[in-house]
C-alpha cells in the first residue's frame, strides 16, 4: 500500500509521515474525533492528515482534516492507517499546551512514535481494514436547503437545554419568520429556543425540519472549542452537517448526523 515514503537524510525508508506541531493543536484534533469514535482511519498525504470514521449504526460520521500549515514541519507520503484514539489522546494529554509534539509513522512496523521532549511513546497502529469506513463525499451530496452559522455558545446552549427534557431535539428553519428554532418535547416538560438573524452569525432561511438524537450532539458539543463559529447545514429529514474550523484555520471538522424519523 505504501509505495512512496518520506525522503530525508535522517529518515528511515519506511517513514511515511513525520510532523511536529504544538500540543494544543494535536490535542484538539484528537478530541474532535474522539467525541464520537474510539478509533478511526488516519490518512496521510503531502497536504496534511485526515481522520475519518463512521459509527456502527451509521448515525454519525466525522471528517477531520489538519493541513500541513498547522504543523511546524510536515512531511507526508500517501498512507492509510488505523488509530486507537483513546490511547493517542492519553499520550498527547501529558504534554503542556505550548510544548511541541513530534509524530512519526513507521509504515513497516505499523507504529506511531510520539515524542514530547525526552519522552518517547510507541503506539501500535491498527489495521484500517478492521475499522468501519464512511463513504466518500461530504454534506454537499445531500443538497441541504438551509444553513445557519451560530456561535459555539449558542450551540452549547441549545444542546444543553434539549438534554434536560428529552433524548431528541428538532432543528427547524422557517423562511417566512426568518428564524431558526430548536425544540425538544419531553414526556412532561418542553423547551424551545427561537433565534432570529440577530442572535446568529448568519442565517440562510428555508423551510426545513429534522429530528436528531441529543446524545451525539452532546458529545460533539463537549469537544467543541469555545469561541468558534459553527456552520449547521439543514434539510427536511436530511442529515445535519456540523462544521467548524480550529487551530487558526489549519484544522477543520465536519460531522454528519443522520436524522431520526419524526414521531409526528
Amino acid at each position: 500500500m505504501v509505495e512512496q515514503t518520506v525522503q530525508e537524510s535522517n529518515s528511515s525508508a519506511t517513514t511515511t509521515f513525520r510532523g511536529v506541531l504544538d500540543a494544543g493543536t494535536i490535542k484538539r484534533t484528537v478530541d474532535v474525533a474522539y467525541a464520537v469514535f474510539d478509533e478511526c482511519h488516519l490518512y496521510v498525504d503531502p497536504d496534511g492528515l485526515r481522520l475519518a470514521a463512521i459509527d456502527a449504526a451509521t448515525v454519525v460520521r466525522a471528517d477531520v482534516t489538519l493541513e500541513r500549515a498547522a504543523f511546524e514541519s510536515f512531511e507526508g507520503a500517501p498512507d492509510h492507517l488505523g488509530i486507537d484514539l483513546e490511547r493517542f489522546r492519553d499520550v498527547v494529554s501529558i504534554a503542556d499546551r505550548d510544548q511541541f509534539v513530534a509524530l512519526e509513522v513507521n509504515a513497516e512496523s505499523r507504529t506511531l512514535s510520539i515524542r514530547i521532549d525526552e519522552l518517547e511513546y510507541t503506539l501500535a497502529l491498527l489495521d484500517p481494514e478492521t475499522i468501519r469506513s464512511p463513504q466518500e463525499g461530504s454534506s454537499d451530496a445531500f443538497d441541504l436547503a438551509g444553513s445557519v452559522v451560530a456561535s459555539a455558545e449558542t450551540f452549547d446552549r441549545s444542546v444543553r437545554a434539549a438534554e434536560m427534557v428529552s433524548t431528541h431535539l428538532e432543528f427547524e428553519l422557517d423562511a417566512a419568520d426568518e428564524v431558526f428554532a430548536v425544540r425538544a418535547d419531553g414526556d412532561t416538560d418542553d423547551v424551545s429556543l427561537t433565534l432570529s438573524a440577530s442572535d446568529l452569525v448568519d442565517l440562510e432561511p428555508a423551510d426545513t425540519s429534522s429530528l436528531f438524537s441529543v446524545d451525539y450532539l452532546a458529545s460533539i458539543n463537549r469537544a467543541m472549542p469555545g469561541g468558534v463559529d459553527v456552520g449547521l447545514g439543514l434539510g427536511t429529514e436530511k442529515p445535519l452537517s456540523i462544521r467548524y474550523e480550529f487551530a487558526d484555520g489549519g484544522g477543520d471538522v465536519e460531522y454528519l448526523v443522520a436524522p431520526r424519523i419524526s414521531a409526528t
Copy 2:
C-alpha cells in the same frame, strides 16, 4: 381553587403568577429547598412566593419565602401548586448568575413557564394533593428556650466536624458557663466544639440539650450561602430551628429538624 388571576394587558386569564428575577436569587431559593426535598408545595399570593415541604419520616420541614421585593417585577394571585425541585433546579442552572429569569404559572394547564433570554421551558407542575404537607406554624410554637446566632462558617465547621466521627450530634447550651457546645461521640472517636459569646454573633444562654441526625444538617449546610448569619433556636429534646436570610433579605428560610431520642 384559583378564583383570582393576575390581571394585565398581555396576561392570559389563567395566569396566577408572573415574575422576573435574577438567576442568582431563584437558584439560591431552589437550592435551599432542594437541600432536603425533591418536590414541594409552591404557594403564590400577592406578597410573594412560599415553598414548603416535610419529609416522609416527618424529621425535617422547610419553609422558604421569597418576597415580591426580591423580584424585578411580580404579579401574583392566590394559588397553590406542587413543583418538582430537581427539574426546576436543572433548568435555572443553565442561566448565568446575572441573567434574568422570567417565570409564569398557567393555572389551567398547570405548567410553569421559565424564560431565560431566547430559551423557553415549560415544566409540568405537580398536584399539591400528592405532596406531604407540613402543619402550619413555625418554631414559635415550640417555645424554644435558648438561641444562638452563628456565622455560616461556624455552622459548617460544626457539622463537618461531627460528620467525621458519628451519625448524630448534640447541640448544648450551658447557662452557667455561657457557652454553646457541639458534641459528637462516635464508636471510637469523639469531637467537641465549645463556643463562647465571642465566637458567635449572638448567644441567648439557657440550659438545653438535644441530639440530631447529622445527615439532615449536612444537607442543610451544603445549601447554605457563605457569609450569612444563621439563627439556631434550641430547647431540650425539642426541634432545632435553623433560620437565615438570603437574596439581600428578600428571601428567608426556616428549617425545623426533629430531635432524636438521646442514648444517654
Copy 3:
C-alpha cells in the same frame, strides 16, 4: 512500655507527647504516609515523631520523620503507638493551611487529642502490636550502586508516562552513556524517557536496572509535593529508595520499593 512522660505544669502524668505545628506540615506528613498505608506505627521520642509501616506483601515500606524543629512547641517522651491514618487525615483536613494544630497523646487512655482552635477531636489509637512492622534499617543496608536526584516534576512525568502503557516500569542507569532511563513496555505500546545529567539535579552513574510495579510509584507520586528534589537510590534487582524532604527540611520521607522479577 511508657516509663517516661512529658513533665510540665498543665500536663497530666500520662501525656507522652504534646506538640503544636501548622496545619500544612501535619497534613503533608500524614499524606506522605497515607500514600501507601491506612495505618502505621507512630514512634515518639524527645527529638521528634516517626511514622513507619510496611505493606502485607512486603513490597513497600515507608519511614517518615518529623523533627522537633518542625513544631512550634514539642515535648516528647519515648512511646510507641499505632495510628489510623485515614481518620487522622480526615481530622487534619478540616484545618486551614495556616491554622495551628495541637496534638497530645494520652498514654493511659491510648488516645490522640487533636485541637484546632475551638475544635477538639479525640482519636482512639491502635495497638501497635496489630500493625505489621518493617525491619529496622534504611536503604543504606542495600548498598545501592547508583543514584539520581530529579525534580518532583520529572518523577511525576516518568510515572504518569509509564502508567499509560503498562503496570510495570524499569529504571535503568547507564554508566557509559551517563543517562538515567525510564522504560515501560505494554502489550501493544511502549514508552521511554531518557534523561542525561542536564535534565536532572544530580546523577551518579552506574550500571543498574530494576523493574517496579507502577501502582505503588503512582501512589507515592500523588502524595509528593511540587517543587521538591527527589533522591532515587538504584541497584540491579535491588529495592528502589525514594527520598525527599518536606516542611522546609523538618520532615523527611524514605520509601523502599521492592523490585519485581524482570520478565526478560
